[in-house]
Symmetry: none
Subunit: 249 residues, 2 copies
Amino acid sequence: MEKLVTSNDQLVYNAFSFAVAAMAISFVYYLVSRSRVSPAYRSAVTMSAMICGIAAYHYWRMFNNFADGAPWNEGYRYADWLLTVPLLLAELVVVSGVARDKAKGLTTKLAVAALLMIATGYPGETAAAGSDASMIWFVISLVFFIYILWNLFAGEVGQALKGQSGAIGSKLNNLRYILLVTWAVYPIAYLLGDNESFLAKAFDLSAGDSATLIQVGYTVADVLAKPGYGLLILGVAIARSESEGYRAA
Amino acid sequence: MEKLVTSNDQLVYNAFSFAVAAMAISFVYYLVSRSRVSPAYRSAVTMSAMICGIAAYHYWRMFNNFADGAPWNEGYRYADWLLTVPLLLAELVVVSGVARDKAKGLTTKLAVAALLMIATGYPGETAAAGSDASMIWFVISLVFFIYILWNLFAGEVGQALKGQSGAIGSKLNNLRYILLVTWAVYPIAYLLGDNESFLAKAFDLSAGDSATLIQVGYTVADVLAKPGYGLLILGVAIARSESEGYRAA
């Protein structure tokens, strides 16, 4: 492992610290917000808390890793995603309106796809920049990424969402597009971070610029995709709870 | 005590960090999940939280021990198991359907067997690799291990489980097999970790490979046997609570 050399240490350093604060406080926020929704949707809010708590831990580790000038361990991000991405999909299933008997199988399917997406992305990101291995793993990981998005827009989740109308239907639709937009940042940051990639070459990025972009890009995406996405999940869960007559005590 | 020399430091390092995150967040998850089950089964979920909290602490210690390059203290694992394994068995008794008047005696019996299994495994693991002491303690520890499994499959717990049918019966059956499969990893990792053992020789492992395998093997087994097993316990506890008319508020 080598040290992380960026073109703007202070920006990266501040991004990590910002993420620690945002994740840790969102962890607490979602824990205390559980009682705002009915027991049927509470696990979705619990999962938001878990996602933010896990991310707070990993950003704390990354902050210290970077501040200490120790060899950079990109494994923290992947350990984080390995735990949090299946949860992000599982909580979407909870509020999506998929019938309860189908929900379990669907969650398993999406979680396995997410695990494979992340497990195959890691060897690519740690391979030599510009190597064939880096691009081959990127493409394999992207296949699972596309499968997940396909499921959300056309597959089982997509079908379930089609049947929802009114305020809840439009909230769910927003949720899906926010997920699409924030998740799109990851493969773009991956390509920009590899300073031998066509994308990095098109922008004529130095290795330091690439490292800054990948770390800040991933951090911004994580803040939107975890605490931000959790707010939308909470909104749907509250709307569903209220429409089913639940009133927080 | 000597430093831990592995063939893949980064893998071991990431496994420990992953376990800290998984255990700590599961601790919180089981704490907030207590209200999902009726008071009769709540102690099982409380024990899952305690198990994961204890493990989070010990993985934190092991992470620091390894990252600091200090002499390696395998005692952290045994201190962890000494506390957590009796709890793993006690929570199984709570949800197993063993009559309440028999549950206390049975729990004591299983807890004592677990304590003896771990207390006799420790001198074996810290004895010189390949020494007679290493194998003798391994065999003594294995006797208690087999007694516990015998109890779960044929003894008192086994008998209680036989009488259960339907969804709860099949969940309990899965629980028992998951316990069997995850627990089987421990003696296998023990033998692979001893690079003089017949198993390590069969695979022609270097001392560094053995150390990597034992640490990663124990870590994977702990994640499955603690947070993973806790999910199954929670599932049985929810099913029993609902079948007895309990509804979470």
